[in-house]
Amino acid sequence: MKTQKLPILALSRALSRALSRALSSSTSAAASESGPAFPVKTVTTANFEATLSELRHHVRASDFVAIDLEMTGVTSAPWRESLEFDRSDVRYLKVRDSAQKFAVVQFGVCPFRWDPSNRSFIAYPYNFYIFPRQDHMGLGPSYEFLCQTTSIDFLAKYQFDFNACIHEEVLKAYDLKLVTIVSSSEGLGLVYCLRKSILTHRIGIWLKQERDAMTSLNSTYDSQWSDVCKLKDARDIPLVSTADILFTERMKNRFSEWRDGLLREQNQEDQSQGISKDSKQQLQVFFFKMHPALRLNGFTSHQLKLIQLVIRKHFKDLSYVCVNSEASDLQQIVVYTDSKDEQNLLLKEVKEENCKAAEMKIQAAVGFRHVIDLLSAEQKLIVGHNCFLDIAHVYSKFIGPLPVTPEEFVTSVNNYFPHIVDTKILFNTNLILQERMKRSRKSLASAFSLFCPQIAAGSQSTDLGSPCHVKVDVEVDDSRSSSWNPGVKHEAGYDAFMTGCIFAQLCNDLGVDFKLHESSQQLALNEKLRKYVNHLYLSWLHGDIIDLSSGVKVGDSSPSQSLKRRYPKIVFENIAIVWGFPSTLKASELRECISKVFGSTSVVSVYHLDTTAAFVQFSKTEQVSDFLLLKETLERSDGPIAVLHPLAKLLEGGNTCAADYDTYKEICSSPLSESLFADQAKAFGIKWKTKLVEYEIAPVYEEHENPSSQSDLNTAVRYAEKAKPNIIDQLRNEPPRRQVSSGIADSYAAEANL
């Protein structure tokens, strides 16, 4: 934690509190008294095991658990950012893309427990540094994740320690291929959970996954042991090259020297070593389980095989063993034993230990998922701040591949975490809280300093005494504290703490009495909280809220109202998407040239997706298909009409494509992420039309577009017909106002069918 460098102002507590109320928490930090740094437990591999049991205890006893994640990025391409023209299913696809591509680098968990004796909450903030890790030994593909430059820069601004994040010590999250991990030379990590299999039952699968890993592990070891003990492999090596013969001879001499030395030592108590100095580096003398042994370093696998052969052939009292110790890599050693029995005993012992060590490593490899497992098993109320993306990350990293539709995702999430509450929902949908938030920015830190000024200021001593403020103590490693310097913003542990504090305060404001609640489950079912629990913002811009327990989209009471005022109502049916036009074409020009054809009131709005792509919302649904049809005919005819036509400006360059809204959704669902939408569409099209590229090479580029736009058109028409057989005709006769509303109803109906 960074200590504040700004001078400590000798301000009274009251003043500092007043200041902190007015300023954001980062500035209030300067005004607060210098105290101990905010206590948070940082968890790495070293203390993971111990922490886990401690955390389990705290979670079990807690009333609710706040979580927060730090990621390497949010959007993989500019057009993947959240836009006004994103329907909720498109929004979900964008969240899904984000969760699939970026890595989680920090995970903050903070259980909160109501302490009736002190009439305060006790928070236990944990900050896990996690990092995806998969060691590939030729078999599996290596795990890749995306970094968004601005996000990394943002983390850097808040002094995120990247070294700590990537360093060995850090918890490695899990990504299958346990076999490879175990057999890899450089230890292993904690890995993100299995991604590819369809999860029918999580515990079953988890167990199966672990069991599979164990089985394959055992088989590896069995084969390895058969190699080592029976030396099948070694027998196969014919000593052909003179180099091999010489090497074998040399090793034989060295081993016999060493062994003879040992025997002499036993007889004469002579301390002299049998190994000449120059070979000491390769053959390191030490004691292995009370037996004198040589550690073999720096040999190639071929040479090691030759050594095995030598040992087997010439030395009855030496044995070659391969040890997989807990701390380090596989070690090749040669051990001296006095008798045959002793030798067998040793071999058996080593085998058992190797298996045990590997088992331990697998247990450790499952790693951070234990925490998720724990949160899920305890069924506690999970508290997050605008946490839809966080939940998507948790799901994709530790539970399974993200489903294609938001409804499936939500029901699946509900199985793992039955109670989730979002603080952002709380203070945006509750009218009283909303009133308090009105003037404040909606960021976590500003909400924190607004709702919990005394905690944000770091000191909440008794003189505050106000019953309307919730008191929160922090306990780390059994030492409790109630005053500290504000923590580092955007550190997952502190962010989770802030979120939890806000939630506690909001509950207090809503009149939830913690004294009456004994378990978290009851808290979630509380009359006053119930309508907020399991509601998450699918799209913050639209205020689309989704109910996790039912999968139904809940109409929002009051989202970003300013937005609604600024933009005309969005009717997805009436939207055409156009891309690939010249980047110099402005929205106004686009509107103008379409208006020329379809009438001055035909275009409701034009919204740029990026420089060469835009949404055009028409006033009537059929104008979309009319527009697409017209575009297609224009492109087909090569005559002067095409050149002089008002749309010619839009079609300039011959790369302009257009489609209906559903094509946009399809393109969004693609795993690719080109930076320009036009490129993305091209790359996506290539997926099911390889000819595109080949056509492009040919001079007749424009021609190839026809089939595609034709098919777009067809799908558009088909879609329109399928979805609402009568509506088009109805709409034509209806007054415009009515159209809009029926359009909305329809778009939602269509969504529900998806």
């Binding site: 990092f131 890790r133 970094c147 290539i686 000819k691």
Partner: protein, 615 residues
């Protein structure tokens, strides 16, 4: 510079004692000046870079790749990953074959300094790769906090247009002889306007020196009349509405000795106005011009960032030494010059404009009689040290000024060392002095600009280390190569081979099987035409016997052409089999859609032989 430390290295390489100057954004400008002189004094420049990942499994360039597919693979590599540090080491060879090297290591981070979403929106990281960098003690914090940013040439021009600082190019504008009446009127109007303005300027000039009150008055007058000043010289801004007008004004003022026209750029790279500055004299005008030029250069540096180093190397036209020429060059091209072209030929010619001569150490290594690839420079060096006696003296003059403990970017230095060692083993004098200028030795010319890690003109020597059936240097046309997948998991090449041999009499002749990844293998028919037969048999209905069994069990085959299409289209699934399957699927889809593949030239690269030696 401190007294040069002389370090001679004979048979052992104590690379741990080498120090490389680490450059971050704090010392970038100073280091750049230093590097500039070092580059101009040097004979060669070794480069090496570390990225956030590397291609794995079949995504990396394999021996059976054609130059085309190899380029597609390299393109993907260059576009995905980010350079984290870039080591540059200009070095020269003295008369006594001593090596004088000046190693630098630049830490890079694509920070969006201009808030324009450039140089890169996002990049991929490979966890295992980052972890291994962390193990070597790479400081990610230093890299992200203090790394130098950059813009490619293409991005720079976009950024300038978007920020409205671009100077519209005037060179393209030819004076158009036909001047219309409107032009004449315009010119006359501007001419008289300038005349009046000059007059008022001269009046004020003569009167200002008199007293302080006058000064105040003139100052007030300037404010009231809207007289402008540019670098303490009076100036006049004339709004223009077309390129033609800009041209006319510039033509009008071209002979003037004390008036300097400057173009005020507007948004979108067009001229918004012309600012006419009145200088005191001809000398003053020149001074102003130079001043502005320096300013512009400084401004440019803000945009280009680290690219300045690439520009320096490029401008020097010195031979560049790399150890994975294809990957390094595609990376440099896409990050610092412009997006990679679609075709490999375009890339090669474009690259020649940037670095006229690139030497790949891999090809030089092959020349000395080892099939070993320089995947790992320390290994290559120790291999040479153990097998050849070729002492190389290396001198690093700036050692004393470098901080202790920072040893990143050693690879460029190792490259210099390796290069010298190879030259001395091969008895090549690295550079030939010719009429005062140093040239690359003709023996080395053969190794320049080979953008394929496996194919080179030099003969592959016999190598017994490689498995039994590959110990010949036979090459095969890719027409005779067939991709096979859908066999039982865990089957080895020899199991597959015997399975195939037993399945059909096509396999009675000589053929070989090589696994590409765990799910896919290639089958090489040494007898021409058999591959076609095989493909036909596999798709025919008369298929019978064991081969039928195999197909029933899911075995699929396709020709080399599918692989090429796949690389071109960019279907990069983790498993090769999956990608091939998808390529076949989509081509099937196209045929169904009625778009026959007539527009596509099908090349059967008969002349394009591939090397099976490394398979």
């Amino acid at each position: 510079m401190a007294a040069s430390m002389f370090r001679s290295l004979f048979t052992t390489v104590s690379s741990s004692k080498w120090r490389v100057k680490q450059v971050t954004k704090h010392n970038f400008n100073d280091s750049l000046k230093e590097l500039k002189t070092h580059i101009s004094d040097s004979d060669f420049i070794a480069i090496s870079m570390e990225n956030t990942g590397s291609s794995s499994s079949w995504h990396r360039v394999l021996p059976f790749d054609t130059p085309e597919t190899a380029y597609f693979k390299a393109t993907r590599y260059a576009q995905r990953f980010q350079v984290l540090h870039f080591a540059v080491c200009p070095f020269s060879v003295t008369h006594s074959n001593n090596l004088v090297a000046h190693p630098y290591n630049f830490l890079l981070f694509p920070r969006d300094e201009l808030k324009l979403g450039m140089p890169t929106y996002s990049f991929s990281c490979q966890t295992s790769y980052l972890a291994s960098m962390a193990r070597q003690g790479f400081d990610f914090n230093a890299c992200i906090y203090d790394g130098i940013s950059y813009l490619s040439k293409a991005q720079e021009s976009v950024a300038k247009i978007r920020l409205g600082t671009a100077f519209p190019s005037l060179r393209g504008m030819k004076s158009c002889s036909t001047s219309t009446v409107a032009d004449m009127v315009f010119v006359e109007r501007i001419r008289s306007r300038i005349k009046h303005w000059r007059k008022t300027c001269e009046n004020t000039n003569t009167s200002t020196s008199t007293s302080k009150d006058e000064e105040l008055i003139s100052c007030l007058r300037n404010i009231i009349l809207g007289n402008e000043q540019f670098r303490s010289r009076p100036c006049l801004t004339i709004d223009v509405c077309s390129e033609r007008q800009v041209q006319l004004i510039l033509e009008m003022l071209v002979d003037s000795s004390d008036v300097l026209p400057l173009i005020v750029p507007g948004k979108g790279g067009t001229a918004q106005a012309i600012r006419i500055v009145l200088a005191n004299s001809k000398e003053d005008k020149d001074l102003l011009e130079r001043e502005l030029q320096n300013l512009e250069e400084e401004e440019n540096r803000k945009f280009s960032g680290f690219r300045e180093v690439i520009d320096l190397i490029s401008a020097s036209e010195k031979p560049v030494i790399s150890h994975n020429c294809l990957n390094d060059c595609t990376l440099i091209h896409s990050k610092f010059i412009m997006p990679l072209p679609r075709e490999v030929d375009e890339f090669v010619s474009s690259m020649q404009m940037i670095f006229p001569k690139v030497l790949d150490m891999n090809h030089l290594m092959k020349k000395i009689g080892t099939a070993r690839k320089v995947t790992n420079l320390p290994n290559a060096i120790s291999y040479l040290n153990n097998h050849f006696f070729a002492p190389v003296d290396m001198e690093i003059p700036d050692q004393a000024t470098v901080n202790e403990g920072k040893i990143h970017g050693l690879n460029a230095l190792r490259l210099c060392y390796l290069f010298m060692k190879l030259c001395s083993i091969l008895k090549i004098s690295p550079s030939v002095a010719e009429s005062g200028n140093k040239h690359l030795a003709p023996e080395l010319e053969d190794f320049t600009n080979i953008f394929h890690p496996y194919s080179s003109n030099i003969q592959e020597p016999f190598n017994k280390d490689i498995k039994v059936w590959t110990n010949n240097t036979r090459k095969v046309s890719c027409e005779n190569v067939v991709f096979v997948w859908g066999f039982k998991f865990g089957q080895t090449a020899s199991m597959l081979k015997s399975l195939l041999r037993a399945s059909h009499n096509i396999f009675s002749g000589e053929f070989d099987v090589k696994l590409v990844d765990k799910s896919c293998a290639i089958v090489v028919f040494w007898q021409p035409g058999l591959s076609k037969n095989f493909l036909e048999v596999m798709s025919s209905e008369e298929i019978s016997g064991d081969l039928k069994e195999l197909v029933s069990d899911g075995m699929r085959v396709t020709c080399y052409e599918t692989y090429k299409t796949m690389c071109r289209v960019g279907l990069w699934d983790m498993d090769l089999a999956e990608s091939l399957e998808r390529t076949l699927e989509s081509s099937q889809c196209d045929i169904e859609n009625g778009s026959v593949r007539k527009t596509h030239d099908i090349h059967w690269y008969n002349e394009n032989v591939i090397n099976i030696d490394d398979l």
